[in-house]
């Protein structure tokens, strides 16, 4: 019975999903608009229930298959918030037709449910299954505009790469199971501490798992598909796909790497490598390649969505920085950066979606045609992205500082240099976008702001508030996230 109480957020999400599907079948016409509201209500309920769970000590539920600890609760809150913001942001998009709105809500809730399970799973099979569900739902989301060729292409890429990543993961857990006879993370950890895998086997398992998670996180070799998917999808979906799989990948990576390939040190809050594979070196290499390649490729893009997608890839590299130092300060900085990306990317894609509705394109050279009353949105876009890349006065900078700082603290000087370089190049890439936006503001006639822009502006403003609060109250927040991961269960 207790297990059920801890699973309430997931149960809420599952019920909401069922209700949304049922009401989509049952209702036609005007009541359909209520379905989004219903979905939001369900997400709100799950959010509150997750907050309540914070008060309880970390526990394992469902026969040790799920762990309700600080890490999983943090990410559950994150994904529920992301789902709600995406539904709200997509409200006025013209790319998603009114008829398909309930399906969109259902898919978003499905993804939220899958990710909630993925981040709390302590069973490699459950992790595998939930990630696969996420990938398949992502495929449906990417192909949401069925008539658009690019959307279809995005969907196919998502499916193909997702399938490959899934197989790699499956192969890795098969190898683990073959040598230990267990699929439970805690069991695996116990056995690996006693008898580590031989070096070659451990290296293969690590590379397989890391490549597979690399697809989720959009890190270097696997990052090449992400911009295609993000660019091709309808813009509200792009925003979701630019955040959700990457952060889910990071969350799973924290758990897997720290449990399978590391063990806690005597000093609390730090880990050391388990076995003979010096994997932080590999992660460091990939982090550097991801950041630099992402930033350089962002410099050459001609499509705004693709440019932002590459900036998101750079962020993935930064997330890896938090991972490879193996202490809770690093993981705390990672979580903080994730939060910052949530607001910055959601806001950026909301503005891009608005531009797409206005212009029907996201070419940088076409953005000049924006009407003059879009100036506040343009400024908001620049501010969101500047915060994302960590341009100093804006709050994203503190997350970057923390991540670069932990890298330097652990003698990863070269990586810190690459990180700063990537930051500078991303700022230049961003100013190319801003350059495109500036256009002929003065040539266009001024018109009073139309009424329908008001909800969007209020929503944009509302996204800024938590972002700036994150910057101003970075101190308590960093302390809170660091505290919440102290209870990762082994």
């Amino acid at each position: 019975m207790n297990d059920i109480l801890f699973l309430l957020p997931e149960i809420y999400l599952a019920f909401t999903l069922a209700l949304v599907i049922a009401s989509e079948v049952a209702y036609h016409g005007e009541p359909r608009r209520l379905i989004t509201g219903l979905a939001l209500l369900g997400l709100g309920g799950a959010f509150i229930q997750t907050l309540l769970a914070f008060r309880v000590a970390p526990v394992l539920v469902l026969d040790q298959a799920l762990s309700m600890d600080g890490l999983s609760l943090f990410f559950k809150l994150f994904f529920i918030l992301l789902g709600a913001l995406t539904l709200l942001a997509a409200r006025s998009s013209r790319e998603l037709s009114e008829v398909n709105r309930p399906e969109f809500s259902a898919l978003i809730i499905g993804c939220t449910l899958a990710m909630s399970i993925a981040v709390s799973a302590t069973d490699v099979l459950v992790i595998f299954l939930s990630i696969q569900v996420l990938n398949i739902l992502g495929f449906l989301l990417a192909g949401f505009s069925k008539r658009s060729i690019r959307s279809t292409e995005a969907a196919v890429k998502q499916l193909a790469f997702g399938a490959v990543a899934g197989l790699l993961f499956l192969f890795a857990i098969a190898m683990l199971f073959a040598s230990t006879g267990s699929v439970s993370l805690l069991d695996l950890h116990r056995q690996l501490v006693q008898a580590p895998l031989p070096n070659q086997a451990a290296l293969v398992v690590f590379v397989l798992i890391f490549l597979s998670l690399g697809f989720q996180m959009a890190t270097f070799p696997m990052s090449l598909s992400a911009p295609d998917v993000i660019e091709g999808s309808p813009t509200p979906v792009s925003g979701y796909l630019a955040i959700a799989p990457r952060v889910a990948g990071a969350a799973v990576a924290v758990r897997l790497l720290l449990v399978l390939f590391a063990q806690p040190e005597l000093e609390p809050g730090r880990w050391q490598i388990l076995g003979g594979v010096d994997w932080p070196r590999i992660v460091g290499l990939i982090a550097g390649l991801t950041m630099v390649s992402g930033a350089l490729l962002a410099l050459r893009q001609t499509s705004a969505k693709r440019l932002v997608a590459y900036l998101a890839v750079v962020e993935s590299g930064f997330l890896l920085l938090g991972l490879l130092v193996l202490d809770q300060v690093g993981v705390g900085a990672l979580l903080y950066s994730c939060l910052m990306q949530l607001f910055a990317l959601t806001g950026a894609f909301l503005v891009l979606s608005h531009f797409w509705d206005e212009l029907g394109t996201d070419r940088l050279s076409e953005l000049k045609r924006l009407p003059r009353q879009a100036v506040p949105e343009a400024v908001a876009l620049v501010l969101f992205l500047a915060s994302l890349v960590g341009l100093p006065p804006l709050p994203g900078f503190i997350g970057k500082f923390a991540l670069v700082g932990v890298a330097l603290q652990h003698q990863w000087s070269f990586l810190a240099v690459l990180a700063v370089l990537a930051m500078a190049v991303s700022v230049i890439a961003l100013s190319r976008l801003a350059y495109g936006l500036m256009g002929d503001l003065r040539a266009l006639p001024s018109q009073p702001a139309s009424l329908d822009s008001r909800p969007r502006r209020i929503f944009l403003g509302a996204l800024f508030i938590p972002m700036f609060l994150l910057g101003i109250f970075a101190e308590p927040l960093l302390a809170w996230v660091t505290r919440s991961i102290r209870f990762i269960l082994w």
């Binding site: 900078f397 500082f401 700082g405 240099v417 230049i428 801003a434 350059y435 500036m438 003065r442």
Partner: protein, 507 residues
């Protein structure tokens, strides 16, 4: 002390900027004048706080005054630490004087006036914060914050090539800030316990620290010194990194260019002195020679390039380049008089360049041309002194001060600088004298081509004398230039003790 003048100085303009953003957008006359009134009022209020701060300072003390400390991000030991001392009192004064003037100069801006005023107010906050910050992180925070408003100010209100100019300025700022940031992180982690407080970092604590990169041992102080200098050189125009500055000079509206050349540039030199002399005294002592060389190069190249210019604002850009070179010579001399002169010259340079830039804006507004001589070398305008006597007078004082004639602000700075540096680097000082002679040639040619002689074209007749509003913001500048030139004693008394203390720590 319990007054929060520094915080008020930062906060009031910022509140004004936020107010500009949220003012309802209507074309009604009342709303327009409300916007303008709040912009100038908030800027003035911030300036008055700055002036009170300067007036309230104790002379003959090298201590930090009006210190305000508030923990901000404790886990990274970042605190809100603000104070003034002899080094930053003059930049504070400069910012306090110039920003209300800039807003007054853009009083009648036709396009997006509220946006422009708002951005100028944000810039005022950022620069004042960078000047007063006594915490490395905070200093960087405000300094980097100043680059974003400039980008928009150039990109939206600039000339035909504004996007390119804005883009180039942003690239320079991004690279400069990245270098600065890298130095900051390096400094923070090389010292135990980790700290950002300038007073805790000072005193040569960094000189013995080393770090490893790719197997090589490097000295933290040397690397950080290099990165900070390079980072600042990208924001202040130092040859050969000045390309963006010249482009901005051509494209930016005059008031924005004044904000860059008359405020950002002195602030950059101030940050250079503050950080290098207090954080890496030993590195500074060994690199002083190089600083003088860079200064000399700037001086000569700026001067030679200025001779051949036909456009007012570009000429001003090269004058600024060459003046920065002079300031660097003063800093590199590491002598008391030279350093005090360099600090004083920051103020004089700022006021002189501001007067020049705003006047060139007025002239361009009247005549619609940015050039003062044709390709053949004949005057484009000419004869303006007869129908615009006040303008000619103001321009005269500004030019004279830029040249450092006795009785003007520039004289005090120049002469102290040269006296102080002569014993250390006589060659550099001779170079300085030569380039001042050159400056006399090109600035007086400019003056002659615009204000004296016969009218070369009908456009010259269009030059009306200064309007009441222009008088209101140009007269104070000119009067202050003269006052600071005739009676510099109170300001020098504020500067001297801090400079002596700083030099004492270097030697």
């Amino acid at each position: 002390m319990s007054h929060h003048l520094i915080t008020l100085m930062l906060l009031l303009p910022f509140i004004g900027a936020v107010f500009q953003a949220f003012l309802p957008q209507t074309d009604k006359e009342g709303s327009k004048s409300l916007g303008r009134a709040t912009a100038i009022a908030s800027s003035l209020a911030g300036s008055i706080c700055g002036l009170l701060l300067v007036v309230g300072m104790q002379p003959q003390s090298s201590e930090l005054q009006a210190l305000e400390v508030l923990p901000w991000i404790g886990s990274f030991s970042i605190s809100y630490r603000m104070a003034v001392d002899g080094l930053n009192v003059l930049p504070v004064l400069l910012i306090a004087i110039l920003f209300p003037v800039l807003i007054a100069a853009e009083w009648d801006q036709k396009i997006g006036r509220r946006g422009m005023h708002g951005l100028l107010l944000v810039l005022q906050t950022a620069l004042a914060g960078a000047v007063c910050a006594q915490d490395l992180f905070l200093l960087f925070f405000f300094w980097a914050m100043s680059s974003l408003p400039l980008y928009f100010l150039i990109g939206v209100w600039g000339g035909p090539q504004r996007e390119t100019a804005a883009f180039r300025s942003m690239v320079a700022a991004a690279v400069g800030n990245a270098l600065f940031f890298a130095a900051l992180v390096l400094i923070y982690y090389s010292i135990e316990p980790h700290t950002f407080s300038l007073s805790e970092l000072s005193g040569g604590k960094l000189s013995k620290q080393t770090f490893q990169i790719l197997g090589a041992d490097l000295s933290v102080a040397a690397v950080a010194f290099g990165m900070i200098s390079l980072g600042l050189a990208l924001r202040a125009p130092i040859w050969p990194l000045h390309g963006w500055f010249i482009e901005v000079a051509e494209e930016a509206p005059p008031s924005v260019f004044v904000a860059i050349s008359a405020v950002c540039v002195p602030v950059a030199t101030y940050i250079f002195v503050r950080l290098t002399c207090s954080l890496f005294p030993e590195t500074m002592a060994s690199a002083a020679e190089g600083v003088v060389w860079v200064g000399g190069l700037n001086l000569v190249i700026g001067g030679i390039c200025a001779v051949s210019q036909r456009r007012l604002k570009v000429l001003l850009a090269y004058v600024c380049l060459s003046e920065v070179g002079l300031i660097l010579i003063g800093i590199g001399s590491l002598s008391a008089a030279g350093m005090v002169g360099a600090v004083y010259q920051q103020l004089a340079l700022g006021l002189g360049v501001a007067g020049f830039g705003l006047l060139s804006g007025v002239l361009m507004g009247r005549t619609g041309v940015g050039e003062f001589r044709t390709e053949a070398g004949d005057p484009v305008l000419g004869g303006a002194a007869t129908h615009a006597p006040m303008m000619a007078l103001v321009a005269g004082v500004v030019v004279v001060s830029l040249l450092g004639f006795p009785g003007s602000g520039g004289f005090v700075g120049h002469s102290l600088l040269m006296i102080g540096s002569f014993s250390v680097h006589p060659g550099a000082v001779l170079l300085g004298c030569a380039s001042l002679l050159l400056a006399t040639y090109y600035l007086f040619t400019l003056y002659r081509f615009v204000f004296l002689g016969p009218e070369a074209s009908p456009r010259a007749k269009a030059i009306q004398d200064l309007t009441l509003r222009e008088q209101a913001y140009l007269y104070p500048l000119v009067i202050l230039l003269v006052v600071f030139g005739i009676y510099p004693k109170p300001l020098l008394e504020l500067v001297r003790p801090t400079v002596l203390a700083l030099l004492g720590s270097i030697q």
